[in-house]
Symmetry: C2
Subunit: 399 residues, 2 copies
Amino acid sequence: MTVYPVKGIRLASAAAGICYKDRDDLVVIECQAGSSCATVFTQNKFSAAPVQLAKVHITQSIPRAFLVNSGNANAGTGEKGMKNAVQCCELLAGVLGCDVSEVLPYSTGVIGEQIPVQVFETAIPGCVKRLSEEANAWERAAKAIMTTDTVPKLLSRKAGIAGCEVSITGMAKGAGMIRPDMATMLAFIATDAVIEQTTLQQLLNEATRISFNRITVDGDTSTNDACTLLASGAVDMEPVVAGSTEYAQFSTVLTTVMQDLAQAIIRDAEGATKFITINVAGGKSEADCLAVAYTVAESPLVKTALFASDPNWGRILAAVGRAPVSTLDINQVNIRLNGVAIVTAGEPDSAYTEEAGMQAVAGTDITVDIELGGSAEAVTVWTSDLSHEYVRINAEYRT
Amino acid sequence: MTVYPVKGIRLASAAAGICYKDRDDLVVIECQAGSSCATVFTQNKFSAAPVQLAKVHITQSIPRAFLVNSGNANAGTGEKGMKNAVQCCELLAGVLGCDVSEVLPYSTGVIGEQIPVQVFETAIPGCVKRLSEEANAWERAAKAIMTTDTVPKLLSRKAGIAGCEVSITGMAKGAGMIRPDMATMLAFIATDAVIEQTTLQQLLNEATRISFNRITVDGDTSTNDACTLLASGAVDMEPVVAGSTEYAQFSTVLTTVMQDLAQAIIRDAEGATKFITINVAGGKSEADCLAVAYTVAESPLVKTALFASDPNWGRILAAVGRAPVSTLDINQVNIRLNGVAIVTAGEPDSAYTEEAGMQAVAGTDITVDIELGGSAEAVTVWTSDLSHEYVRINAEYRT
């Protein structure tokens, strides 16, 4: 895959030794003066120190630099964790010659341990010296932010906006503790298009809603989720404004990049052997459709059955039946597994055979279509299966 | 453990061959004329045919007999499943010489397959001939209703009520698809006390709320949950009436029996290696306390960490932080693991050591105490861990 550099956005990584050995675990991102920045953060009430600090900094200044580390989440670390986060931002601000409030911090990794500030102090100056717009700086950074991920998630597209060619390049990390609620565990997307902050935030909110906010591995919303969208404005063009054709064009490409990143997280989910798409349509509201989709997506019994390539549709039916929706007319419920009708009008489909069901779930990609009734509401949620490997990874995470 | 027979309640089991080979899978329970019966059923909207039929029958007659099978849930089986359930009740009613509406059906096992009515027809007459009040009839029945259970759940107590000695004996089955919502997957409790139906139902509702409705293995509410309480009235005593001292005495013993049965389900949960008690206190409402308790209890990350005997309290904190409660003042949150303070006033406890944490979760029984604030609300939920064996059992369930 081609990674398009984004004019005005420079990155560098370093092996600071925060937790891992012999691999990069620190990333600095810098955007040129005049860039806009939009952010969404986790809604977990125990949000991490860097999330809390970033929320304060964006009210004080326009962000210029982003300090990211893997191996330690700096979450559940109390006052000391907050002091450490401030100190790390000060270190980067000192080297760059900017105000501390122009630096946003991001951390991901183990919860409940203090971050080693000393290794930041050692690694930051060299990192800043190597800041680069080049594609390989993106590639190295996408690897540096990984924790239990097995592959980096990096996507890049060109878009023609108002006769200009702009780049949209983004990276994300995440494999477990994934049910983003506003954003997922660390995603950075950058463009060289000209978009002022309010419009950029609107674009990010809209795309997040149907990308990172539509995936779940384990239902466990992280304390550190954060998604950031940068627009350097390096391309010589008129600003993209809300409601325009250019806005719609840009939004389409941005949403594609973010959905592809979100889906890459699910394909790399802890222990995953299946990529499961759950479409729910016809509920009384979008919230009802989502409630059914997430109940099925997070049911351990559905997930273990699909891991076993077992078309145990009774478990899907039981999950639909326990979903927290106010009303459900089971006589209107249709369920299909990769196109094979299993339940029609609330009853086992008369044409269903176990052979057809087995074939439907044999492959890696499984689509579950659930129709609840006649409304026009429709949502899609992506999830993974629950395997032996999932238990192994999460039972051994700290050992 | 001593099993006390319940005067006026007779049971028998048979190896009908519904699904398993060489083991009992059919139980008939009969209560003497004048008995009262109280029931609670699953709130899963896709409730099974026997649940739907039982709900109709109790509006038509006072139950006299109960037909229970394991190996097949008769759920998701459509019109044919309902016809089969009716036919099975008719078979038992025919042999007993009672009306079909005096028979309540119960099924548990695989969802989505039709029950073989023929084997019921063959097995029921012999079963009825062997109906007995003896303790070993209870013991055999408690084994016959098992599915993925590895041990039968049978408990028995004596209570002194108004100068009379009464028996309370109960059995339950369940190990997976356990988050009862009104009752758990098949429980039968019987007493020879004299209690009329309305009072009996009140006793059952109150005890269910803090026993079977406080356990979760996987969050998956079953389509077949049902809990039945019988009072034969065989003891020569005044009826137990609501509001009396005798009511309170009986309620205490009944609740103990039902909590012990509920806890036995958790101890035998699929793949379980830990028995986890989650106490949540001080929330704005009981609903808020329960939301926090269930979010922690059903978090795959918390469950895998405890399986690994890893005091990864960051995952507990993250689960508390994402619980669906309206407000949460994290500065008031205290968390203890088997008495070891890990979070105090929303911050890592200053005296906490990893050694103390390791010791706290080393054993089989782990208590998580979570304080949210100053209110008098308090709930207890029991759950199990998530092990390799859980995945194996549920991936191989139908193979």
